[in-house]
């Protein structure tokens, strides 16, 4: 069933209003908001340090070993 133009207008107006509301929640004055973003991205845009990548790799491997071991025990 197709919606009428009026229904569509109402729906779109509602959506626009919602969108505006959600944008409002981030509506820091730009002078502050832009600086805040720059401050944050200064760290967030840096590549992920190797120490974290190797940490996760170790954790993954340890988990894997543990699993294989327990699987093996079940078989025996």
């Amino acid at each position: 069933m197709e919606e009428s133009d009026v229904e569509k207008d109402v729906r779109e107006a509602g959506a626009a209003e919602k969108k505006q509301e959600s944008e409002m929640s981030f509506a820091l004055p730009n002078a502050i908001g832009d600086r805040l973003k720059a401050y944050y991205d200064d760290v967030a845009s840096a590549p992920v340090p190797d120490r974290f990548l190797s940490l996760l790799e170790q954790l993954d491997r340890a988990e894997e070993k543990k699993k294989q071991k327990s699987d093996g025990e079940e078989v025996e």
Binding site: A27, A31, I32, R35, V48, F52, L55, L56
Partner: protein, 183 residues
């Protein structure tokens, strides 16, 4: 096995955000990365408690924040302050010569109370909704809203942004009034 690898990949994707949030909490890059490391280990240990399909980023932020405040309680406030001063000195490294503006902003941010600073970061930089931020900080949505408002006002005062002419005090005040309805 595949699930674990996915979990690892998803963790890696959130790390840049975790580092930025941790740096804003801890005030020093070294402490921030220690905090991230502990968060990753904790998250790994309790990955079975994470519900797939829910917000992993918010889940990790919650772990990191809890870890930070647990450490703070253990170590006491003085340690944090010393680190904060250290961070201000660090902020002057040469690659950032072009970012004098950023240094001022960093200092202004340091002057905010912890609860206001984290609310401002979560909403204005990390991209969380008020609802998500409230969950991360274990408080009401209205509390987050008022913390963000107060943080914004204070930063504006410190940086004298309201004196730029770009944003008069009235326009800032009216935005705050406009943005902070009861939750």
């Amino acid at each position: 096995m595949t699930a674990e690898t996915d979990f690892r990949r998803e963790l890696i994707q959130v790390i840049p955000n975790l580092r930025a949030f941790a740096a804003s909490l801890a005030g020093s890059f070294d402490r921030a990365d220690d905090l991230v490391q502990e968060t990753l280990v904790k998250a790994w240990d309790k990955q079975h408690t994470f519900q797939p399909g829910t917000n992993l980023k918010a889940w990790l932020f919650t772990i990191l924040r809890n870890e930070f405040y647990t450490q703070m309680r253990k170590k006491g406030r003085e340690v944090q302050d010393v680190d904060g001063i250290h961070a201000m000195q660090l902020a002057g490294h040469p690659e950032q010569q072009g970012h004098l503006d950023l240094q001022d902003f960093r200092k202004a941010l340091e002057m905010l109370p912890d609860d206001q600073r984290e609310a401002l970061i979560l909403i204005g930089a990390s991209g969380f909704s008020y609802e998500e931020a409230a969950e991360i900080c274990h408080c009401a949505v209205g509390t987050i809203k008022s913390r963000v408002s107060r943080a914004r006002t204070r930063i504006g005062q410190i940086l004298k942004i309201e004196g730029d002419g770009e944003y008069g005090p009235d326009s800032i005040a009216s935005q705050i009034i406009g943005v902070a309805p009861a939750a």
